[in-house]
Each structure stands twice: as C-alpha cells, then as structure tokens.
Subunit: 471 residues, 2 copies
C-alpha cells in the first residue's frame, strides 16, 4: 500500500501548495533532538519560497539554523510558546523585523481552533506512522511519547504532512492523530536524535538551597487544605520542582492519600508517583524522559491528552481547570506576583510561558518556586521586565528564605501561618534579598519591540524590547 | 467535584438554550435499548418547544414515541442514516410534511463537519462519564462499546449534553469524547435497556439457502485475488453474512493468511477471527454484541474509530478507502447493480444505508449477498424502488442460484469463471428467479415524497415516495 506516501519532503511541500507569505507549523515533542523543522526549512529555502511565518509550539537550540532563514527572508514571522536561549538572544538583538508572537500551550491551540492563527501547512514529526497517516509518538527509534501539541496543527491546518522514520503497516493501532486529518506522508532516515528528544533521566536537585525550597514547597501543599483524596498535581522538570515532588510523594504515602491525576509534561518522577499509588492516573501532553515514554506506551493509567484537552481556554473545559496544585518557576516575580519566564536578567529572551499561564489560571493553588536571588539578583522586583503570567493567577512564592502569599488567597495565608511556616510579605522577601545582594540597578532596555506576549485568551499582554547593545 | 453536572435533562435543555426551529442530535449506539432520545423528547415537548429537526445517526422501533412528537409538531424534520420498520411504515404513510433526509454513516459526519447540517444541541448517551464530560461507551451497566457515531455531534454541535447513568470520578480514563467538547453532564437512572443495547450473541444462519449463499460468498473472496497477507474485511450482522465470515475464517486459517484489519459494526464473529489470528486488528465504529463490547474494552488490538475515521468522504481519508472486501445486504438490486436497502417490497421504509454506500464506494470488492427471491419476489429487478447505493460501486451479487459480476470488474469475472464458480449474467439471474416466482407485477407508488436519499457526497441521489393506500 502506497497510500499517501510521497517520496520526499520537497515533493510534499510542492503538493501541499506552499507559497510565499503562508504559515507553516511544527510541534516540539522531539525537543532539542528535532531534525524535522530544519529539514523542512532547508527544502523550503531551496524551493525559493519566502516570507513564511513559522508557528512552532516551542523552539530549541537545535533550531538555530532558523537564523539563516530569517536573514534570507525565508522566515519573516515566528509564533511560538517557548524559545530557548541561543535563539532568544538573537531575537532580542533584533534579528527579525516583525516581533515574535509568544503564546501559551493552551492559547496556541485555542487561537488555531478559533482561526486567529491559521496554518497553511502543518509538518508533523511522527515516531510511527502508517501509509495513510495514522500516527503516534509512542513507537520507534525516535519515540517521544505523547504527541499532544500536534493535535491542533493536524486538526486545523489546510494541509497536513506527516514526516516519519518508522513507516509501519496499515493500520497503525493506538494512533494519536488519525488519517482523517493527514494529506501526505514522508519517510526519512531520521526525524531526530534520540539523545536530544528525551533525557535518560531527569534529576532532582542536590543543591542545598534547592532542597530547602523543595521542602518548603511540599509543606505548603501539605498545609494548603488541598492535599486529600482526589488531589491533582502538576510540576515542571526543574531540579527543585522534582525535589518538591519527591517530598510530596513521601507525605502522600505516609498519609495514604491517593490523588486523582498528575498532569503535564510528565517526568519519570511522576511515573514513580503513579506506580507508588500516589495518583490514579497521569494525563500527559508531553513526555520529558524515557521512563515517561515507556509508561505512556505500556500503562493504561497513563494517557495522552491533546493540547486542547490540556489547556485550551476557548474549549468547553480543559484539564488545567480541574487542577489543584501546580509548581512553576520564574526568572523574576514582582510585588504584584506578576511572573516573568520569558527573559533573563539582561532582558534577553530565554524561555516562554509554555503551560505556565494556563496552569496558573486553572489551578486552585499556583505556586512559584525560586531562589531568593540568582547571581546576586533578587528574584522579587518592583516590576517584572515581562509579564508572562499575571499576578492575579499566582497564589504563593516559595523561596529558601520564606514564603510569600498573594493577598487574594487569604485562606492560604492563614493556613500556612497557622502551620508555622515562614510566611513573609512579598515586600519583606524582596528587602530580605536586597539586604544580601544590594539593590540591583535597573537594566536599561532597547527601543524596539522584538516580541509580543499574547495572553492565553488571545489579547496582547506585554511586549519584550530589544536588548540595548544592539540598538 | 460538581463540574458540569446539572440536575436534570430539563435543566440541560434550558441551559443549552434550545428554542423552536433548532436541530438536536442523537447517536444510536444504544440501538433498540436507547432511552435517551425518548427522555429528551419528552422534556422538550413538556417545555413547549416546537418545530425541531432531529438528526439521529439511526432510529429504532424503541423510538416510536417520536410519532407523537411529529403529530404535535414538536418534531418537524428528521435526518437519519437508518430507520427501522415500525417507524418507517408511518413515515411512508405520510406522517411528516417535510421529507425525511437519509444520509450514510460517512455522509452524516461529513455533512456535519462541512456545516451543511448544523446541530444546535447534541445529546450524547454515555455509559460512563465524569463530571467534566469525558465519556466512554466501554464501561458501566449500559456499556455499548464504541461511541464512534457520536464524535461528529460532540465536535461540531453548538452545545453538547452528555447523559449518563454511570458518573465516575474525574478523570475518566480511556475516554472516547474528551471534556473539551462537552457543556453539560446529566446523570439519570438508566440510559438504556441492556437487552436492547446489544444482543447476547449474534447468530449465523442455519437456513440451507443462506449457507449456500455464504459458501459462494466465501469462495468469491477466496478467488478474488484479494485474499492474501494484509487482507481487510467488513461484514454485516445478518445471518448469511456471518456464515460467510465463518467460511472465510476456515479458509484463512487453512491458508495461514493474516489480514490487516476487520472493520465495521463489529460482532463476536469478527472478535473470534481476531483471536484466531485471522486479523491483526479490529477497527470498530459500533459494537453489535456483548463479545464485541468485552473485546474493545480489553484487547488493545481492537480499537474504536470515529464516524469520520470510518467513512467520511470529505476528510483526507477514511478506513473504508483501504478496505479490500465488504459483504452487504439488499432488499432489491437491479440489472445495473443499483441496490435498495431503504424500502421493502411494498415500498415502505424499513432500513437505510448506514455504512452500505460508504463501504461499497471504498472497498476494492463490494459484494451483495442475497437470496434469489424473498416471499416470491425476485431480488433482481429492472429498476430498484430506491437507489441506496449506486451500481457503479457494487462489484458482485452472490445468491444461492448463481453469482453475477458487474461488467466494470472484468478481472473479477474472469477469476471467478476460471475458478469454476457459477457465474451468470445478472439478467440471466433475474430470469432464473422469475421462472420460479413468475414476473412480479410492478408495485404502484404514492405521489408524495416522504424521504430524500442524500448520497455520501451530499447530493440528492433518490427520493422515496409515499405508499399508495395512504395517498
């Protein structure tokens, strides 16, 4: 059966009718091991197509060749939810004329579904696919587990190209995306570098400061009133977040509490918690390591969810709406609890919201875990450089030097104070840090807008300015 | 967690904003055991809402109370893919002013997705659901297995109400329809009568005529050139079709052929074939019996597909496009191989296409299996009363008295003739039957159009006239 198989990416691009000025899309489940975006962009450039917008759910250092395509005007627009530092630095220095549009992992599928960010051709890297385009992330040498972020691209793009290095007999079972949405299938040698797709294991922190933060975080959850039968939880893959999950696991096992679900980007630590009985299920929009990939492939309690199901604000509901607690990071947080995860201390782009805003908006308790200062810069500032997540959606900041609770959540403040936890006003926490680091001087910023931060609801939330040395 | 749970169907109808003139929809997975359509219609009538169109994937005798709602002008339009005889008879007698619109199981989701038949409120009977609306057909006292036909309703209706008798803790795992599409959840005592939802076992025929037909059918497949590794197959739940599957199974086991997939409405016989190794997988849009329900719940080789994935002609592809052989029934077939499955010999509506046209159009070999005559009426006529499936999509007619091959498939005719099978011209088959039954007199028909048969592509294919005694 040949089905929809065409002989090359080049042929698929031509058949899909890609033309100057169109928008193409990519998902980021192959993370820093992804070959597909670069392969497609090379062919697009060779075909002489110009002025494209790239809508990618995230961009990593491996996608640095994009800079060449930006310089040659093959790419003139970028829409993404996250951008790693190497690419971010160049964008901040003014590599593009048009500002990058940042969205959230829930806002992206929402805006795609609503037709606000139409996609002409979606390119879907698939670790397994059959000749009609049924495809999955769970099987093959490039297995990445969930393909959650690729669903909106498949469902709403005018043309859909599946690119695989593992073409299997029809029908592929246990598909993520059904053939109903797929126009063309291309088989290539390798869609990615397994070492970059998933890490072998994600590591908890050994840093003493991180461990204190993590212990504080676990205690906040313990005394929040939310840690009871049916509890639900999301945490990131950062070292302190994972350590917090470890301490939380100990508490849940000791108190014999079984949660309903763990959510998110799933790590091996969440799989451990599932297997230990801390949760009844895992809902997985993205796998972070090999243990998560193995689990989603073999354990029916560990289920793939689409980006819409995870976090879309314009669908009837999303799992984030039912979330109890999320642990999130920050590069800065201000005294109004606004959080920055887009730029570093010099104002350079080095991240993005991902699911930060979505989970913060949905969760009953949105916790920021961060050290009081990094490289002699206090984490708490008067005004964040960039509002990634608005303070109204953040409940608590946990540091090694104290815990600050947002005034909007008085019940939490009372509970934590009653439990004897080191609760401080966020202004006190700021001053406490500044007594150690000194008052940081305000970083100058450039004049150009290099990026727009679009809220999950689709409105302009903030802008990111160029860094001054390049103005 | 209350989530989207509202206290009654009445409240859900009000919240969904149902008003005069709107369209509501239902799926038919609970078949002749479905309570949900009647429950909803009772409440609609009590609320004084009028002039509704009911879009139901199929209608059964249990839905006879619809006639009252038609008489009282609560319902003034019906769109369906199949209508059983008791309801069909009344429609044929002129119960409705506006003609019923018949579609196919693939044309229905296609026309819904294209916006040709918009749905205001979809009511989805769900054997299991959680408070946010994630739902499944596989679990609970009213388990029906696949919910394939409910997908388009959930995805495209303006409002979606899930009605369940088995509300489970959030999150329900292994959902068919995710919460992303669901507005309200209602919990009722019983959504159906298990005895009518699925039969205990479906039975192969013991009738000697049926067994001869079935043996001929199996031989046609055996010598068609299609029965080889990777073979794919669909058959109905009728006695002769099941007997054909039984004979086919024996051939496949003897010849050690493993097929790729069995498709369809799935019966226990198809499950037997899966378990015996005749197929690598089953793709299931609807379960016909308890064995199929048990299998789809427990065997990962047995997968649920949506109506779009099954048969939509306007999606990028559907499984029917990859189908090798389908065995179908007929009430009449004419010398151009046009098939009628909508009306009986008196012209009364007693069925509908279901997936007939879709699988015939997609399969490499579309076979009609039918006795030469029923109740002294030959199966082959000059012109069918109603073209349910156009002759261009039918390859062969198999009867106990001979096999007629459509001229469009010369290769098949040559293969079957070479294999020594009793191949006759379809005109000869007609005359052979008429020598036994006599030439039937042409049935008079009424003047009114009581139904329109819409092709899977969405065009008017034929009309059904009233029966004369009521004109």
């Amino acid at each position: 059966m040949n089905g929809k198989v065409v002989k090359s990416i080049r042929e698929a691009i031509s058949l899909a009718g890609l033309k100057d000025g169109m928008t193409i899309s990519f998902h980021h489940h192959l993370r820093n091991g992804d070959y597909v975006l670069n392969l497609v962009m090379e062919e697009v450039a060779r075909l002489g197509i110009r002025d494209l917008t790239v809508n990618a759910s995230s961009l990593f250092d491996i996608h640095l060749p994009l800079l060449d395509h930006i310089q040659s005007h093959v790419v003139t627009g970028i829409q993404t939810d996250y951008m790693s530092a190497a690419l971010g630095r160049e964008i901040s220095r003014g590599a593009m004329e048009k500002p990058v549009q940042f969205r959230t992992h829930g806002g992206r599928p929402s805006d795609i579904a609503l037709g606000r960010t139409p996609i002409d051709v979606a390119f879907i890297a698939a670790p397994a696919a059959d000749p009609m385009g049924n495809c999955s992330g769970k099987y093959g040498k490039s297995a990445c587990g969930s393909l959650g972020y690729a669903y909106p691209d498949a469902m709403y793009a005018k043309k859909v190209v599946v690119i695989t290095d593992n073409l299997v007999d029809y029908p592929l079972l246990d598909w993520s995306i059904p053939e109903s949405y797929v126009d063309y299938v291309v088989c290539v040698e390798e869609i990615g570098n397994p070492k970059g797709i998933v890490s072998g294991t994600t590591q908890i922190t050994r840093d003493p400061v991180g461990l204190v933060m993590a212990q504080n975080a676990a205690k906040v959850i313990q005394y929040s009133g939310l840690l009871k039968e049916g509890f639900s939880f999301q945490t990131g893959a950062g070292g302190a977040s994972l350590a917090a999950a470890k301490f939380l696991k100990d508490i849940m096992l000791r108190q014999q509490i079984q949660g309903s679900f763990g959510l998110g980007g799933i790590t091996g630590y969440m799989v451990d918690m599932l297997q230990a009985g801390c949760f009844r299920s895992l809902l997985d929009v993205q796998c972070f390591d090999l243990k998560a990939v193995e689990s989603i492939r073999t354990d029916p309690r560990h289920q793939e969810i689409s980006a819409m199901h995870y976090a879309s604000p314009s669908h009837r509901s999303a799992v984030v709406d039912s979330l109890d607690v999320v642990i999130l990071g920050a590069t800065e947080i201000d005294t109004d609890f606004n959080v920055n995860v887009h730029t570093d201390s010099s104002g350079c782009i080095m991240g993005g919201s991902g699911g930060h805003s979505d989970t913060a908006a949905g969760a009953k308790l949105a916790m920021i875990i961060a050290p009081m200062f990094r490289a002699r810069l206090p984490i708490v500032t008067d005004h964040v450089t960039c509002v990634s997540t608005p303070g109204k959606d953040i409940d608590v900041l946990v540091t090694q030097g104290g815990i600050a609770v947002n005034e909007k959540n008085r019940e939490l403040k009372e509970r934590l104070t009653a439990a004897g936890l080191p609760v401080l006003d966020i202004h006190e926490l700021k001053e406490k840090a500044e007594r150690i680091t000194g008052k940081p001087r305000k970083m100058p910023r450039g004049e150009r807008t290099v990026a727009e931060v679009i809220s999950r609801e689709g409105t302009l939330q903030d802008v990111i300015y160029s860094v001054p040395d390049q103005d």
